[in-house]
């Protein structure tokens, strides 16, 4: 029951240079991006990219397809927004509240969901997330359809004024980089090795004495917590939290971003998120409804390029020469 693979192959050091250059280039581009693009738009992409990367930790590196990640994303947005607006906590603490909340929620949903595998896992996460959606709809603190509005961004560590668009952008970028670094560390750790082996051959992992359930639950909670980081950040960027982020369509969207960018690649989801967000923004002012395009892109991805953009690049001749080895099972 596994999807795709990125392979960490202990190879010669030459490709490392190419990869470092790419990484550095990417970082410079992100630092300069506000000069060329609209900052709020960029921040939105970064939030969704972090969301998709956190989701990919589960799908790409543990082989679990969750159809309920919106619960953690939207849930964290509500927790952060509530903490910042009603309790008046500083932004960094607000985000922490979102992360912890999402992790707890992940522990509960994960506890039930990991009892089944594959498609059942997907359906159970979907159903439980839907339950959480109804909770958010009815709970007092979410303000129903109105959402929590006018959330103050506040001052980071009491110093940096985040209502300044550029301050906020670099704050979001910093959180994004930290988030990605955490994900990278988890994937490339002894623990990540076990996740990979569970994805590769769950039965064998059990027969080697690993309590696979605990590992899956741990990965699920980590993914939920990192998703919460993205959700809390988004609440600060947009200064509100609404029902949209908890709905099952959002769970579908993050799958699309990951699939489009490349399942099981560290930065694929970033490209997927950028593309989907751009598409949504672009189509907002066109005649054509977004859902049709989203649906068609979904089908095309599944039928034609399952590796996703980044996966296809890794697998292309250029990608191989640069040492981005990317293998897929199918």
């Amino acid at each position: 029951m596994t999807l795709t693979f990125e392979l960490q192959k202990q190879k010669e050091r030459t490709p490392v240079v190419a990869q470092t250059v790419f990484l550095g280039l990417g970082l410079v581009l992100l630092l300069l991006a506000p000069l060329f693009f609209y900052p709020v738009f960029l921040m939105k992409i970064l939030c969704f990219a972090l969301f998709a990367c956190a989701f990919n930790l589960l799908l790409g590196y543990t082989g679990l397809l969750s159809f309920g990640h919106a619960a953690f994303f939207g849930g964290a947005a509500y927790f952060t927004a509530h903490a910042v607006k009603e309790w008046g906590v500083p932004p960094e603490l607000g985000i922490l509240v979102g992360v912890v909340g999402a992790a707890l929620l992940g522990a509960v949903i994960g506890f039930f969901a990991i009892r089944r595998q594959g498609i059942y896992f997907a359906m159970i996460t979907l159903a439980l997330a839907q339950m959480f959606y109804f909770f958010c709809l009815q709970a007092e603190f979410t303000h129903g359809e109105d959402g929590i509005q006018s959330v103050p961004r506040g001052h980071l560590f009491g110093l940096l004024d985040l209502s300044q668009s550029s301050n906020m952008y670099y704050f979001v970028l910093a959180i994004f980089v930290i988030g990605i670094a955490i994900i990278w560390r988890i994937i490339n750790s002894p623990f990540g090795m076990i996740l990979k082996s569970i994805r590769e051959n769950e039965t064998r992992a059990i027969s080697l004495g690993y309590s696979v359930r605990n590992y899956k639950l741990a990965a699920f909670v980590m993914s939920a917590a990192l998703t919460g980081l993205a959700g809390g950040l988004k609440a600060l960027v947009f200064q509100f939290a609404t029902l949209t982020d908890v709905g099952w369509q959002m769970s579908g969207e993050v799958i699309l971003m990951t699939l489009l960018g490349g399942i099981g690649t560290l930065i694929g989801p970033l490209f997927g998120a950028a593309l989907v967000v751009t598409l949504q923004n672009y189509l907002a002012t066109s005649e054509f409804p977004v859902t049709i395009i989203t649906g068609v892109v979904f089908m095309a991805c599944v039928l034609l390029f399952r590796r996703g953009i980044v996966g296809e690049f890794y697998n292309s001749r250029l990608g191989r020469r640069l040492g981005f080895e990317h293998r897929q099972k199918h």
Binding site: Q138, S150, Q239, V290
Partner: protein
């Protein structure tokens, strides 16, 4: 990458946005931002954009000698997309005001941005009274209707017509509660009583169970404190269970011509509802309705007509102020009476609420309907002063006694 470079970047960024905001652009640009592909696509949708275009054309396409442009976008019912578009419109596309804004979460979010950017927003599509209450803005206006006026119209006026005992079918979330509570208060104030209520989850497909409970309550009026598909399904199933034939009256608290059309007279007959506009009310409205129908294939509801009115009034205010500066225009908007096809002697309160008459309507039986879209009988006119919250009680801090 060092601190200096980042600082330079930040300065460049700040100066560039500032420059954009100041640039006087030789045109007036209005953005119609609403749901064009989701559940509210008929309620407002691209028809509201058409209404705005009509208003601009009727005005002559120009104000203060500069052309008026209308642009539109589909926010897909997502506040983040709406907020992204709104910011981008204000910052990079020189949009002067944003209107329509269906869905409460979107309207509140965009109103907050407009306040921050000192731009005018006029809401016709969203219902929440928060817009002119705690979250009001000196640049924000609420034009067509709100939950309060619907409650007063349907709750208050219907009791006077003899519907003095009520049972509510309420959507189980904040919007539903506030409709139920407001309406219930007006029922009681007018001497009626509420005999019961049942809370149903949002997006319920089957209402038969709730309808049976309403039926056995013996209440004279069954109030539907919900919206969209929920209301449609409830009405359709009420017809199936013979509720209206059984002598009970059905009152939908948020329902317009567009939804009645979708439901058909067969199922909707006898339903009572409140709107701020009905095309077949008088000769002038009928003329407007037919023109709108020619363009869109649909008769306008209060959101469409309200958008027409809002755009027209906005242009008049610019004319009067002699500038498209938000402070000046806002001042005029607050001062000028509204007299057009939508509102007669409407006034704008300090909290941004446009106060105008509302209409209590009843859906005709199929054989009473003489022509297509001839759906309503006007049962009563609710004067604006009764229909809307007294600005002093609204909780808006712009209102000082």
């Amino acid at each position: 990458m060092n601190k200096k470079v980042i600082a330079t970047l930040a300065i460049m960024l700040a100066s560039s946005t500032a420059a954009l905001a100041d640039a006087s652009d030789g045109k007036v640009k209005i953005g119609i931002l609403n749901d064009q592909s989701g559940v509210y696509a008929d309620f407002g949708g691209k028809f509201s954009y058409e209404a705005a275009l009509m208003a601009v054309e009727d005005y002559g396409g120009k104000v203060l000698g500069v052309p008026v442009e209308v642009i539109t976008a589909d926010h897909q019912n997502k506040a983040d997309i709406a907020s992204n578009i709104a910011r981008q419109w204000y910052d990079t596309e020189q949009v002067d005001s944003i209107m329509e804004l269906t869905t409460s979460s979107v309207a509140l979010a965009v109103q907050a941005i407009s306040k921050e950017k000192k731009k005018i927003d006029i809401v016709t599509g969203a219902a929440t009274t928060e817009l002119t209450g705690k979250q009001c803005s000196p640049y924000g206006f609420h034009w067509a209707y709100d939950t309060h006026s619907l409650a007063v119209g349907t709750g208050g006026a219907l009791v006077k017509q003899g519907g003095d005992s009520w049972f509510f079918l309420t959507a189980d979330y904040a919007f539903g509660y506030s409709l139920e509570e407001n309406t219930g208060n007006y029922v009681k104030e007018n001497g009626g009583k509420v005999v019961g209520a049942v809370r149903h989850p949002l997006a319920t497909t089957d209402f038969s169970s709730f309808l049976l409970q309403a039926q056995s309550s013996g209440a004279k009026v069954i109030g539907l404190a919900n919206a969209g598909l929920d209301t449609s399904n409830a009405i359709k199933q009420a017809a199936e269970f013979g509720i209206v034939q059984g002598g009970q009256r059905l009152a939908a608290l948020l329902f317009t011509l567009a939804e009645v059309h979708g439901l058909g007279l067969e199922a909707a007959q006898g339903l009572t509802l409140t709107e701020g506009f009905y095309w077949n009310r008088d000769a002038e409205s009928a003329k407007f309705g037919k023109r709108f129908m020619e363009r869109t294939g649909k008769m306008p509801n209060m959101v469409h007509a309200g958008t027409y009115s809002a755009v027209t009034q906005y242009l008049k205010a610019i004319e009067k102020a002699g500038s498209d500066d938000a402070d000046a225009v806002s001042k005029e908007l607050h001062a000028m009476p509204v007299n057009d096809v939508f509102a007669q002697n409407g006034t704008v309160a300090p909290n941004g609420r446009m106060i105008h008459d509302m209409y209590l309507l009843e859906v005709k039986k199929p054989d009473e309907s003489k022509e297509p879209w001839d759906y309503f009988k006007v049962l009563a006119t609710i004067p604006g002063k009764e229909a809307f919250i007294d600005p002093a009680q609204s909780g808006c801090d712009l209102v000082k006694s």
